[in-house]
Symmetry: C2
Subunit: 115 residues, 2 copies
């Protein structure tokens, strides 16, 4: 699947050819996870509305929830001002995090709300 050339021209990919992707839950505003996309993953996400990332460690495409059932239906995709990060507004089915928590930031607070 090829990415719309008008979109491809606006991307500022990193040295590995990837842009960052932040997923935010539509209903709650919760920031769910951060992952990566290459042009193909972004094209598939735009075409299918199923969030599709590129796994750097496994070097393969990864349709979120394909094995876990914890899919992300994509309502909107926005590109940031410098073209290196997309924001996905999604409906999250089940847990977004592979650890089973709602978001990937539920476990480790480095700095708490001031008293």
């Amino acid at each position: 699947m090829s990415l719309d050339p008008a979109i491809a021209a606006r991307l500022k990919r990193n040295e590995a050819g990837l842009v960052a992707a932040v997923a935010q839950e539509r209903a709650t505003g919760d920031v769910l996870m951060m992952a990566w996309m290459d042009d193909e993953a972004l094209a598939r996400t735009l075409a299918t509305r199923k969030a599709t990332y590129y796994s750097r460690s496994r070097q393969q495409y990864w349709v979120k929830g394909e094995t876990s059932g914890h899919t992300q239906y994509v309502h909107e995709v926005r590109l940031d001002c410098d073209g290196d990060t997309v924001l996905l507004i999604v409906d999250q089915e089940g847990a977004a995090c592979h650890t089973g928590t709602h978001t990937c930031w539920d476990g480790d607070v480095l700095l708490a709300e001031p008293a």
Copy 2:
């Protein structure tokens, strides 16, 4: 300023020694921007509650709003499940984006809400 070794041990830095940092507005839940931190930037952020990033292009620390006045007061910092991205919950003064918009994703919609 040195980062708490117990925190430093949990970070999974990229090849440039950085972790990603996503800033979310406390009052609205809006995702404001994505930037980068090294250990020093994170240590300064935790110590001062002023969001401090590392500029890859300028290779220097950058206290958000130091010149623009568009500061970020940091309420919480959380580390994600795989240690490579922090989430900052902030009070944003003025525009978060250097283009003058509220967030860095206000300008370029790649995929709109389905009709």
